[in-house]
Symmetry: C2
Subunit: 287 residues, 2 copies
């Protein structure tokens, strides 16, 4: 393939998802430049052929496509403000971070004002699917440049679901999906905590559920983590609390009453206050 | 097989689970006599070879094994009090109802006082698994008569898990399992409600989850019910509210904090107050 057809991509944010995204883009032949607030995380990608940049502006210089994979809307906005002087008119911005309903609207507006083609594209999947290029990309944005965009998504994911032409719909869908992940996490944590509290071996809960209609890969993975007291992070408590707050903000704005989600947020907040922020969200069990 | 080896079984309670249990016991060769508070439900089983009895005492007369499948601890206690004059010393009592921690203790005590061999044996599975003899029996009770008991369980379920020799452990495990079912239900209901409230097609939530780690047979079944607005009952809101209260009672007694379960109970109570008590618990979506 002609190198002309491989655009240069700037990846802003190289955390649990951003780092494997950058690596997978390079593997697929893209020229990848990465920036991360904690510089070491971007520099660690040099061995994988990713060029570490000292600032967002350095990263987006000459980039045809900008990918943001940051913690929240504010981080994304700050990185893009820092990148602004070096942005090329007409560049494509793929916004993968989970930022919620309000932030996605202002980011899309900002993109328009700076002549960028904006795609609202949060991803479904955590560390492991990201590493295996098995994310599901929930994409909303203009049809015009979808061919270019699709090639990027195919390098990082197993599937791209086109949700809408207007940005925003993907971020809203993402909140509903995250809410499902949180509900599974808290439900499992509480069920195992209840068994333990009642003097029943919590492994029996897993035993009975296994192979039945209530079983899932997610159930197995998180149950194993809790039973082994191993909270290696796929999705941190801190990040989950942030996203659960976005869920509650969206629910309040749309007039939807989410009792269990509100209670789950309390668990995340309590786990956070107890110092479990960096642990996997299965540490809801410790709340 | 010699008919001597097939004990006579009295089934007290022929609701969503009790009726198929009685039918499956008869299919397997047991002589089955059934009583139900609403007599019509027991009489409807005549075509399946089950003898309908007018009172608990009539049903347990000459029965070697008594099976209770009733709504709650109080119903079980009332039925057994009514049956008491006709109970045979040494008869086996298989208690399948979900009655919670306190009630199972008093039922076991009562059984001891009346010379019955008591098994705490709640079942995992709702209407459909019951009809297909695919329940999972969570059994606690003395080893002495397990061979006889196991033959009964094999007629109604796909698996018997022996939990403990002392009754109580099974009922406690059952609460943790029901809590998982409730958490799945509310989590799904809230996730689909949030999508809808945010103007996103809730079918997209199902679409993205399908085939991934958060997918399950339970997720698919309840999501389909909600999307079709079809609340045909596998597990009624009224029954779920009752069991969720038992979960919270058990949590309070054991000092376990269940935020999400408490919030879920609120949803069930609200659905109940809105007149959805007879609908399937997927009607948490309507709360």
């Amino acid at each position: 393939m002609n190198t002309q057809t491989f655009p240069t991509i700037a990846v802003l944010g190289t955390g649990l998802i951003g780092a494997p995204v950058a690596r997978n883009l390079h593997k697929r032949g893209f020229k990848v430049r990465a920036w991360n607030r904690t510089a070491g995380k971007a520099q660690a990608l040099a061995a994988d052929g990713v060029e570490a940049c000292a600032s967002p502006a350095d990263a987006v210089q000459d980039a045809d496509i900008i990918v943001t994979v940051l913690n929240d809307g504010r981080s994304v906005q700050e990185a893009m403000l820092a990148a602004a002087p070096a942005l090329r008119q007409g560049a494509i911005w793929l916004q993968l971070s989970t930022v919620g309903v309000d932030a996605i609207t202002s980011l899309a507006d900002w993109a328009g004002q700076h002549g960028l083609v904006f795609y609202d594209a949060p991803v479904q999947g955590t560390r492991q699917p990201a590493e295996m290029a098995q994310l599901v990309v929930l994409a909303s944005g203009p049809t015009a440049q979808r061919e270019t965009v699709q090639a990027v998504f195919e390098a990082i994911g197993k599937r791209t679901l086109w949700v809408a032409e207007q940005p925003g719909a993907s971020s809203r869908l993402k909140l509903a999906l995250n809410n499902w992940a949180f509900a599974l996490t808290h439900g499992l944590a509480e069920s195992l905590a209840l068994a333990t509290g009642l003097g029943v071996d919590p492994a029996l809960v897993v035993d009975v559920v296994t192979g039945g209609p209530m079983d899932s890969g997610y159930f197995q993975a998180k149950a194993a983590a809790i039973l082994a007291d191993n909270y290696a992070t796929s999705f941190s408590i801190a990040n989950a609390a942030k996203d659960a707050r976005l869920v509650m903000d969206a629910a309040a704005q749309s007039g939807v009453r989410l009792d269990a989600a509100q209670a789950g947020l309390q668990r995340f907040e309590r786990a956070l206050a107890a110092g479990h922020g960096a642990k996997d969200m299965a540490a809801s069990y410790l709340a």
